[in-house]
């Protein structure tokens, strides 16, 4: 290590944290092309619905990560900003004169503006502190507004929520957004735009200061920045993008209810973001895609999907606080050293039995559930394409044995994997 303190700006490699400061266009172009091509690969209507849901969650999760990952503020009531933005958009949809005067793709901006408005009010007192106090206030305010939705019927529509019709907007180049595919491209446009804006924002001094305040508020204050105002700016920006997500939700589903505001939705977005990884900009994107897939696919297969999602979440917090993005990025040094091949065999030897073992545990869980909750006389259950009697001993023995053996082998090979991992990470120094 040299003790050189200044860096030479003419050499990109020496710029401070060179990788994170450089702006590359390539991933964005790839993402845009992928978004355009997706409907040609997955043509069914349900696939479009899932993808719309996914992109909305992507925007929302990225907005959430502006707080959690980049600003270090843990919010338990962020669904409120998306929800209020969505409700505002819904009301605009129902004001036929105003709604007919602009094209539909502009609508989410109004959601964003309402998100900003609410975030400015709440942020005025909640951003004084980060950490626990901020989390508590966000929870309290979230609960307050969610509870208000039943009382303030004029705005929130009470129990049944409010609904509207997106097709009354001014035609956008002759398009009235009657079909799912039109809405898909509208959502895709916004997801690219919002993600790019959020990315650029995280590269501005405001975004950089948010990181500084997250890591060391005291030092940031000594440098002359008000930690409170820096947090406030992040909070308001996050409220804006959350509101945009809410507006897109309104366009997509044409109905908003109390469910869009409540703590459960706020919890889901925390889960999504953390699962994806808060340390990297693209983490929440991975989280949103994986979670939406898990939610839609797994919930068709099993009633217990929320249980599995919860277990996955707790396991992520305990063992991989970097989330999926963190796990992926762990491998970058290995690839740079050219040692990725050394890891394939140990990975297969450990992860395959582990996966089989976990499936065995899942089978036990499903069987227990069936045993306890199926109606009397209904002894048959179908699991992994086999139908059997859950009240006999044999399937339990098989599932138990699979679980034990799978996890046992994985555990035995784990030390080997760790050695291979260490070797793959250090070999570069030796050469």
């Amino acid at each position: 290590m040299s003790d050189q303190l200044t860096t030479d700006p003419s050499k990109p490699a020496q710029r401070m944290r060179a990788g994170s400061m450089s702006l590359t266009l390539m991933p964005w172009i790839i993402a845009a092309i992928a978004l355009i091509l997706m409907p040609y690969i997955f043509t069914s209507n349900s696939a479009l619905t899932i993808m719309n849901q996914m992109w909305i969650t992507v925007i929302f999760a990225l907005a959430y990560n502006m707080l959690l990952g980049q600003g270090g503020m843990l919010s338990f009531g962020h669904a409120v900003y998306a929800g209020v933005g969505g409700f505002a958009c819904m009301h605009i949809m129902n004001m036929s004169d105003l709604f007919a005067s602009f094209p539909l793709p502009v609508l989410p901006i109004f959601g964003g503006l309402f998100g900003i408005g609410l975030a400015m009010i709440v942020g005025a007192f909640s951003t004084r502190n980060a950490g626990t106090v901020f989390a508590m206030i966000s929870l309290g305010v979230g609960e307050l507004i969610a509870a208000c939705s039943v009382i303030i019927v004029a705005f929130f529509g009470g129990e049944e929520g409010i609904s509207g019709d997106r097709t009354y907007a001014m035609p956008f180049f002759g398009n009235e957004f009657l079909q799912q595919i039109d809405v898909y491209y509208l959502t895709s446009f916004w997801v690219i735009l919002a993600a790019a804006l959020m990315y650029l924002l995280s590269r501005t001094p405001v975004g950089r200061m948010a990181n500084a305040v997250r890591d060391n508020p005291e030092r940031a204050e000594f440098l002359g920045y008000s930690a409170r105002w820096v947090r406030f700016y992040s909070f308001v920006a996050s409220g804006f993008f959350a509101g945009i997500a809410g507006g897109l939700f309104a366009i997509n589903y044409e109905i908003l209810t109390e469910e869009n505001l409540n703590t459960a939705s706020s919890g889901v977005i925390l889960l999504v973001t953390f699962l994806g990884g808060v340390g990297f900009f693209f983490g929440p994107i991975i989280g949103a895609i994986v979670f939406t897939l898990v939610q839609t696919v797994l919930s068709l297969q099993t009633e217990l999907w929320a249980f599995y999602a919860g277990s996955l979440f707790v396991a992520t917090v305990m063992f991989f606080p970097g989330g999926l993005a963190g796990l992926l990025m762990m491998h970058v040094p290995v690839f740079k050293l050219g040692n990725a091949k050394q890891l394939i065999q140990p990975y297969i030897k450990t992860l395959l039995p582990a996966a089989i073992g976990i499936l065995g545990v899942c089978a036990l869980v499903e069987m227990t559930f069936h045993f306890r909750h199926a109606s009397i006389g209904d002894d048959e259950m179908t699991l992994f394409w086999t139908t059997f009697d859950s009240h006999t001993l044999l399937p339990w023995l098989i599932a138990g044995a699979v679980a034990l053996i799978g996890i046992g082998i994985a555990k035995r090979n784990a030390s080997e994997l760790k050695e291979a991992w260490d070797a793959a990470n250090t070999a570069g120094d030796a050469s």
Binding site: G131, I151, L270
Partner: protein, 318 residues
């Protein structure tokens, strides 16, 4: 006048119940600096365990055993979960307890199903203790008050008068020094976490028959408990007591007196607008106090946070 007395008793029951939860939560907070989101989940586990035990052994064994199991579970969570996550910082700790709360709710649904459990008041206590002007006060409420007060006095005694309590108090303020004196501070932390969750378990055991034993019970009470300790001042035991009673009484009184917002406005001298059904503030005019009783604690919390951010009894900013 008589109604006021009845409401005072009702509010006291609610407040003391809240206090049993918030006392443990605030102790844990002042100890580890982390809010245990799953605290109300331990309260729920207490109710479910007590129900399961009461089927086999009766209510009283449930009251005795269920909190012990919950306490051991809580200590286990601290030892094998929180202590592991602690190295990553405070925010992951909060997220961990949040995830745990989700998981416990799913787990309870998994084991006991989504329906309410037929967990009921024991026969011995199922009678009217006394009545005030025609309003009967069930003996179970009096029993709840006695249990909570007894626990509070016991807790206060242990914390302020015994050697163990002194060590705990010292460990809260100066963990390093206490460790240097030869005490096992992680063990103390684990113990306090266990006792805190056991207290929540007791609250669950005695509240289960009255408030209902169902998977949503943690969620219903959970956020109110956080509001309580924020209002009282994070980490202050007395603050938790005062805030619990305050919330108990405010919500009870708001529910039993049907105070309409329009009457309030009229009394101040603002006339009711003529065509109310079209007015954009119509919801504000038609709101009544029982409707907003459940959100009053949140409004109180927001007001406290704006005007006195440290809470009623909080000493300083965290």
């Amino acid at each position: 006048m008589e109604l006021i007395l009845v409401n005072i008793i009702d509010g006291l029951v609610t407040g003391l119940l809240l206090f049993m939860l918030s006392a443990g939560l605030t102790l844990i907070f002042s100890m580890m600096g982390v809010l245990n989101f799953a605290h109300a989940s331990f309260y729920m586990l207490g109710a479910y365990f007590a129900y399961q035990i009461s089927i086999a052994l009766g209510f009283w064994m449930g009251l005795l055993i269920a909190p012990l199991i919950v306490g051991v579970l809580g200590a286990g969570v601290e030892r094998y979960g929180l202590r592991r996550v602690h190295q990553y910082g405070h925010v992951p700790e909060l997220i961990f307890t949040f995830g745990l709360a989700l998981l416990i709710e799913e787990l309870v649904q998994f084991i006991w199903g989504k329906n309410q459990m037929p967990y009921s008041i024991p026969e011995v206590l199922n009678f009217t203790a006394f009545s005030i002007a025609g309003n009967s006060i069930p003996a179970y409420k009096i029993f709840m008050i006695f249990i909570s007060v007894a626990i509070f006095i016991g807790l206060l005694y242990i914390l302020t008068r015994t050697r163990v309590g002194m060590i705990i108090q010292a460990a809260l303020s100066y963990p390093r020094t206490v460790e240097a004196l030869g005490h096992n501070v992680p063990l103390i932390f684990m113990g306090v976490f266990g006792v805190g969750t056991a207290l929540a378990g007791v609250a669950g055991v005695i509240a289960g028959p009255v408030l209902g034993t169902f998977p949503g019970m943690a969620f219903v009470l959970g956020s109110i408990v956080f509001v309580t300790i924020v209002i009282g001042g994070l980490g202050s035991l007395w603050g938790a007591l005062v805030a619990s009673l305050l919330i108990g009484w405010i919500t009870t009184f708001a529910k039993s007196y049907n105070l309409a917002m329009s009457d309030v406005f009229n009394a101040v001298g603002i006339a009711t607008p003529e065509n109310l059904s079209d007015h954009w503030l119509r919801d504000l005019w038609t709101v009544t106090s029982p409707q907003i009783a459940d959100i009053l604690p949140y409004i109180l919390m927001v007001l406290i946070l704006i005007f006195r951010p440290a809470g009623l009894f909080g000493k300083r900013h965290s």
